[in-house]
Amino acid sequence: MFVWLGVALYNNNTRAYSACALLRARLSGSGYWRPLWSGRKLKDAYDVVVVGAGGHGLATAFHLARDHGLKRVAVLEKRLVGYGNVGRNTTIVRSNYLLPENHYFYEDSLRRYETLSKDLNYNVMYSPRGVVDLALSDDDFAGLARRGNAMLLAGIDVELMDVAALEHYCPELEPRRRRRFPILGALVQRRGGTVRHDAVAWGYARAATAHGVDIIEDCEVTGVRTNGGGATGVETNRGYVQAERIVFATAGHTGMIGTMLGVPLPIETHLLQAMVSEPVKPLLHTVLVYVSPGHGEVYISQSDRGGLVMGGHLDGFPSYTREGRWDRLEDVVQGAVELLPRIGAIKILRQWAGTNDMTMDGSPIIDRLRYDNVFLNAGWCYGGFKTIPASGAACATLVATGSAPDLIKAFRLSRFATGHLLDERGAGPFPVRQ
């Protein structure tokens, strides 16, 4: 009796998840659980308006409310929570990057992912199943060794494995099998793996709402109102909203934000495809990443439902269609079957594409945009999902305190003019090659 009379309220009517809560819900009957984030009304004025309810926007709002105590924060979303890239990626998290500015940042993010379920009180299904970067040529192996050494110098754990070690770690790969392009070794990050992508969006949305953030869906920002020295608010399809600070986290639509503010940005929007097969029994326990000499980049993992989740390289030209090109899908599948011939008989179930905000050097931008109180969180290229926790925390600090934490100092917008590029692949100013 007392168990459910003493119903504990997390903030704002959001019920905390626990074993006790399950029991309480069982005894209270229907109506115990509340909607996670819907039902908030749009107010006239806010301290911070975040545009875009994807991973980065929601995480930024969550940290603004929880860490910096801002009470009047809104997230405005044109479509639905998690409609964009946070629900379209291949769910891989890792921090095996070459450049110090990148690997410290991605490592911070991976460490936050490890405890995210607890921080959000929401199971995001972090699965440290290991990320295996395969070498199919001597050049690949030398490149991976270089990347691994850079990481070890930074104190990030990673292992360079030869074929014998790889056979022990990932026997289902059959590393010694005769192939046209034999496996020579791999760079393995054991803490890397997968996280349930939708759960990250839902978990942040719920936790942000619990800390008083208003998440407003079907609310499209159409313009920014300024008074010369700064922005005063945003025009939306539901009317004008006054805002002391504005954060744009709009991924593939960042170019439109540039147009809105009259600033050309070093960003092109490209499509990245992913696909999933019909569910099968467990046949792959890690995440495989490699460059197939014949078919380009491929990454494969098996979801908890059993589907093989696969992705590859960009479609190769700017587009907003969210329809991937057919021949890229073909490339990815051929590259996957070449490495794992046993998956050849499995059928592809679904295929989709996301719009990626590709920068000129392949690294992100978290900085002010034109005005002192307008902020941009963009340019995530393929790295968006795995950086959500670090980006949200760092961006919130920048917005709340006005100064960028050390972790993101290198991600400033002016680096393209000053020449301090973060070109992880050394590919030059061509987004399509990043």
Binding site: G255, G258, T259, P318, S319, R325, D327, A417, P429
Partner: protein, 84 residues
Amino acid sequence: MTRLICPFCGPRELREFEFHKTLPAAPGSAFSRTYERVDRHEHSVEHWQHVEGCRGWLLVHRNPTTGEVLETRLLGGAAAGGAP
């Protein structure tokens, strides 16, 4: 968008072509041409190359929102037409 019309070779599969860059609307500095992009949702003018065909350089007008090809012509040459 699955095909492009090459003025020399006719309609060919998209995989034979390689996108090179988007052209700026107005001439600008070298920095601006290299690093800055103005978002064009309706009409984008691009350089492509028919790398697995005649290797000719093409000027392609496209709508990136719908994927429609508006016009393809050889750089400095005659138009080949609209979408295949």
